[in-house]
Symmetry: D2
Subunit: 498 residues, 4 copies
């Protein structure tokens, strides 16, 4: 293959919008210890800014109740506990308003195992009141400065009849207008947006923006979802779903942005991809694989060109859309599997978190940056859809680097390394692993590491490496500062055996 | 090589006397946070029963003071803090009495950077009083049942003039008699022993036992040290020391035991090897290497045949005999290096901690056991003194195992794996690594792991593997309990990329 | 008042059966972080042996599912997480089997906000199969020795139509027989019992035992509940309930025991009061008060005379029978209120946990014991049902104590001390207290402490003290060991200001 | 007494310069776990910005060594560990350069039990080299921005012959010039100052500044110490020292400031009182008392008028100037006693940390502020030097407050409350308390708390309270926001017993 010559420097900033937000299972799960333990792992190693999920207004969070003889009352015991937890983990809520409290609903249709009511409010005045009471409480507890940093998204995928009765666009627009008005009456500085549509309904965006413009309805951002699964095939326990190429995700981002550009609103109206992943199925085994990590490398590298945030759906397998998880691995969306075991895609994100913000080079297979500490940091990936295992990807780079010798640290995830799912298959797919098995899976989840020195000739570091099938790697190149001879006379050959 | 046939079962118990005790830097260091952090790492992964080190009576622990106008007083502020810490880490003190408090000393000669006074007491009545006051305090604080479990060793290596003025045997015997009497007067159930001699003075043992017998002096155990370094070669910062073969250590254990057998005392008088290691030099780089781990494999496997305990010197590089440590790695004795980075020899001990107590087989290169949970657990090692790197050791075993398929988990430490010292050399031997470098070294210190399945034909698992130069590995073989088909229809080939 | 003369010693052991077990909200809540934080507080300060609550088989724990085309399957993901958590907090499950999984139910009637299905199984063969699968799993995960220590209670309060369809006794007996058979088929050593009846249905016990005897159905213990509330009065948010005297609780214990004595079973058949409290209403403010603590003092002191365990209902306000808690204090059953704030009754239990097991004296107002460390330890209480605040209770004791001077440490809870509920009323009953308010409530929840010395004349310590209305106190009397003059010359009067 | 009318508002900022810095025992102690545990307590409850102590260059920290055949080398293993610990506790080093490394010293005279060498360098070129090597290392590890925030003080109390050979002023000035030059050569932005003189040598300040001015020697701040003990009286274990009035401390601050004002330097040259306390004796029991807390109230309230920082000597009894601490309480300087038990003076500082920065009123007995959250926050104190216990101090304030009812939270420390030392005397002054005794002392160390409501008439809160002898209290007044009637009908009188 041809050598790639990396430039000495660049004026282009690499935007880490992939880090802005991450998805979560229903809000009620944020009360659970394992959920918060997973969140700690993610925040320590990746550090997202916002978290977004469904079910804030669903009955288990307990916010809305109509009391006999008193009328509607709000209860913020669990809400406060959840948001307090988020903030203590240095992550802010990206507030999704939904689903409908049963007592406020106009119907009984629900979504998911946990029965989120997806019908419009029985009375929009009561709904507005709920929204105002909710935000007044948030402002009183967290302060107006803080709450103004939390984008508020109205509902989730209203284009789908399973999420919004009949997928009724006009009714959604009404909900949006009522909600936006209630929010802005509470405080005009709180950010509100929509339409939170699924990939098949990008065409809602221009209609939505036109409606906002025509009706002078406030809109502070546009939100959209992005997946690339083909028709799913249901098994008795899990669901298989073949994938379209990863460029489909980026073209969805791009198309959403173009709708903004072509609207009455400024180009700079923020676009939040409030959900993305490969498959949209919560029980699709691809999520557990190294392929998934390699497949999303390009998306993380290029997504910021179009979106102000794009939120991986989701950070943890503590998740219940379909049912309680039935096995250690079960095709869940999470970056972190049950029992705190990290997946290959977790490492992709953790690797990206090591990149610098000077963008030196990127292509379909890798991204090369310089970090503030001077290190050249590279992430590369090799997703292989062919069943054959012999699809190595070779890299050959010339990197200008101003020192005589450097240290190259490489961390690798592929089918054999940093891959707990593969180890789990080998040890017999235990549904409820015991302590020893959990220990084994945690050990298997650690990426391989290789550290070497390399001489730099003529100011150029020659870097050749290859990735196995479905491999992802992080390479950090830094100047060698050799302290071997700070005293005279170290000689390892005098050590027995060396 | 010839196949080794492992028997189906065995009546021989594998004694883990290697786990009874571990050495430590001077007692005063046990006040330090990093010392206790290292101890936590060791106790979680290995779990020693006792800890032994010098300097309990040295001035920095503050026990003995002569006050003007009052006379001798004892102060147990630090002693209590130290012993409380030990017990909270589930490790008991193996009490070494020494060195001499300055105000109680007959001379000014000291040992080590921290100036332990190594002269006899100026007044044996004051010494006896100190010992009684000390043990009365210990009994009052910890209870008599507990204190009776703590062996008490009189002094350290009195045969060496650097540790005991003139290496005066008669004076040591006097010290021993006075001390033993003082202890037994306090409580006859407390265990006392000696002579704590260095490898070159095993011949003290019979003389010591004869003295005890002749003078009716109590003796509850014999203690002895064991090292196998040749003449050291001093460098400006570290000291090189070639090693005799590891059998020298075992033959020292054996010889010590034979002295007991040939004495007036029963064969069962406990023998405690209260120190052992390869080199006895606190700045000898061999301690940091994979060679050291491989070299000691046989000693851990066979040492219990002779000794009731043998105590690796020491658990941590938080240690100061020669001076404050001057570099991340510096040839210290510790299982754990500075900054909580574990060494190859740490893994040897952690691997042995996974063995079962049914001893199926052992030879120069490996040990094979069955654990209570049914697993066959093997540790193997391959120390190579030749400089050449091509000294693989191949293993070929037939292991009877009663199931149709098994899971084999292998963890490997060698020059390239689980070897922070080697990584440290590569990155330029930073004396005071920064956070990123510490992270790199911790990653490099993790053993390689490989997990695979294997069919068992005719009740026999065929196990072939090889060890690289200076490799040590742990192999755990357990029955495969495959849950893949607890539901019908799992088919990984339907996952994109598989 | 008359002086009470405490005897020098006693052969009577004080049984701490009050410590055997504690109640909990539905099992699904045990996944929550705040639940486990409360459990840590309780276990550190009190240390119960067992924990019992409803809802193990209810759908949110996810154990039982009927899958289309596969049939019934069991899922133990959450069960394992819950029981693992219990054991890591050193508390064992007292297993209550209930309520009915929806897909296994014969009807749709539910109890509580969280909709526990209270109808008999649609098919007893499926039910037996569920029970066997469940216990096989528990044995495989936790070991047979451990599981045999977990009593298994069949259902909850089947005499009440809200808990068991129609309160149908014959159907319950059938359920019991089928369940007991399924358990014993799994392992005959697992303990099974019933009928878990409410206070008004003690008469079920003899009928239940007769049924067991007649049908040769295994029964390893009898269980019964105990409360003493009068007819409740519903308010819009909370429910008031006047109480019968606390002797009613003890007479319920006694009556249950007499039913065993009069049965075909041995006197020693264990009696477990698997729930008790003052009021049985989950929103009755008495639970938050000092009165509740004082009221239960006598019950803890005498309950062990009749019951092998009696389980306070419940350890924490993380509880949801009626709804999500709507306020910091809301009349919940918990020993620990929301945000980790302990209630007066928590202190009663923590005080009892300090008692010794030599019972020197007890009456309606206090209990006097000697602890192993020699201390005389007293708990006293003064529940006052009158509204008037001037109902002090005075105590005057003569306690033989073999030293010349003692230290008396007294800790007090009453309306003004150790009383977070009262402080909460003062600061305006904040529903969702902020950090500062939580801090204030935690400070207010600490008992008052007084420490003094007292001379002992003629071997008798005279102890006079009084308790305010609704006071509870712990008094620990220990020998003074004065070290003031271990050196000569301490003179506080030389300190400026002293 | 006359009523004090507090103004509605004020433009005066209350400077919390008392919080800028705190003293510590020798740097080597910062390696100890108990030291760091105490530091955690202090930082969580008070939150100092800087920490200053002796012994950075003393041999136990291990920085300077002369190696045979190599020459001087520096070792930063412990230095890094210590400074890393400080920064992780959110406290920065206020670097004191001293004492002399033994191998660099011109003499053998030492100070303290831990033998700090107090002689000038044998060679100023070597000294300058040491200083440069040290700061180059600090800059490389912590970054230049960070190091420029760390003031560097040259030596400690050079006016005293016990701290600086002969108290030789000219030699100190030389040391200062050499050191300042070395520092500024390393980086001109690093702040350097002196003369760190003891209270009796304030007259050094003008001479020092004149010398700097004349010789163009850089000086970025002036440092001075402040104590107010009279002639000490030595006991066999502790030392008594009567105190001058606390105004002496303030007048020392003021006098130091005046020396700056009258110098060639701007008025704004920072003045750092790098040590202050009542008694300067490390074994003077006054430090453990409530008197000490009350005595220093005025100093904390007024000290910022003169000093840019004033550093309480010291934060913890983990301290060794005289010897290893010999008893739980022993008159140590610490805010925190051994075993994490806080002293009354700790509470004074924690109370001051609750004050706001709007200064409404202050006098000899109290300070009144408004906090950002609107609360009126008061600290009051009542030091009584008379032996008589009947010296109450009464307070009567009129505080304008804009609401109809307020909550008043008062926390009190005096002889009976928040006073572990007094409890320790009562229980017999145990030198090495056991776990139960430590628990008792921790309970006794908690301040009393009282919470009440008060009506506000005509916009004025009338506040009357009194302080017992040696009392200190914190009063926080905040608006009552009563949520009792957010639902209709709460009636506590319906609760049994209320």
């Amino acid at each position: 293959m041809a050598k790639i010559k990396i430039p000495v420097s660049s004026n282009v900033k690499f935007n880490d919008n992939w880090k802005r937000c991450v998805g979560t299972g229903r809000m009620g799960l944020a009360l659970q210890k394992e959920y918060l333990d997973s969140l700690s792992i993610v925040q320590e190693n990746i550090g997202f800014d916002y978290i977004r999920g469904h079910g804030l207004l669903t009955d288990d969070v307990g916010i809305y109740r109509e009391k006999h003889g008193i009328g509607p009352v709000c209860n913020f015991t669990y809400l406060d506990r959840i948001f307090d937890s988020f903030l203590s983990h240095k992550i802010k809520p990206f507030v999704e308003l939904g689903f409908m409290p049963n007592q406020l609903a106009s119907g009984t249709q629900t979504v998911f195992y946990w029965k989120g009511n997806i019908t419009p409010p029985k009375d929009y005045a009561l709904w507005r009141n709920l929204i105002k009471t909710l935000f007044k409480h948030l402002i009183s507890r967290y302060g107006i400065e803080e709450v103004r940093k939390w984008p508020v998204e109205v509902w989730n995928e209203p284009d789908l009849p399973i999420f919004w009765q009949n997928g009724d666009q006009q009714e959604y627009f009404k909900l949006y207008r009522e909600t936006a008005a209630a929010i802005k009456e509470t405080d005009s500085g709180i950010l509100v947006g929509g339409p939170a549509t699924c990939p098949g309904a990008i065409h809602w965006i221009p209609v939505f923006l036109e409606m906002c413009d025509n009706t002078k309805t406030p809109v502070d951002f546009v939100s959209q979802h992005s997946y690339c699964g083909k028709t799913p095939e249901k098994g008795p326990e899990i669901v298989y779903q073949e994938l379209l190429p990863n460029d489909h995700l980026l073209s969805q981002f791009k198309q959403s942005r173009e709708h903004i550009i072509n609207s009455a609103y400024p180009d700079t109206l923020p676009l939040h991809i409030t959900e993305f992943n490969s498959s949209y199925i919560p029980k699709c085994p691809v999520h557990d694989t190294a392929f998934n990590a390699a497949f999303l490398g390009k998306v993380l590298a290029f997504g910021s060109d179009y979106a102000d945030s794009f939120s991986y759906w989701t950070f943890s397998d503590v998740f219940e859309e379909d049912d309680v998880p039935q096995s250690q691995f079960h095709g869940g969306f999470g970056l972190v599997a049950l029992n705190g075991i990290v997946k290959p895609t977790f490492h992709l994100f953790a690797f990206f978190a090591k990149l610098g913000d000077e963008l030196l080079y990127r292509d379909n297979d890798m991204i090369v940056t310089r970090r503030n500490d001077g290190a050249i940091v590279i992430v590369a990936w090799n997703p292989v859809t062919e069943k054959d295992d012999n699809f190595k990807c070779n890299f050959d780079l010339e990197i200008p680097y101003g020192c005589s010798e450097c240290v190259i640290k490489q961390q690798i995830v592929d089918e054999e390394n940093g891959n707990a799912w593969n180890a789990w298959r080998t040890i017999g797919r235990p549904r409820y692993p015991d302590k020893q098995q959990i220990q084994t899976l945690k050990q298997a989840a650690v990426p391989a590491i290789a550290i070497k020195r390399q001489r730099i000739e003529n100011g150029i570091a020659e870097l050749k490496f290859s990735l196995n099938k479905n491999g992802v790697c992080l390479i950090e190149i830094s100047e060698l500062r050799d302290q071997t001879n700070t005293y005279p006379g170290l000689d390892d050959s005098k050590i027995t055996g060396y």
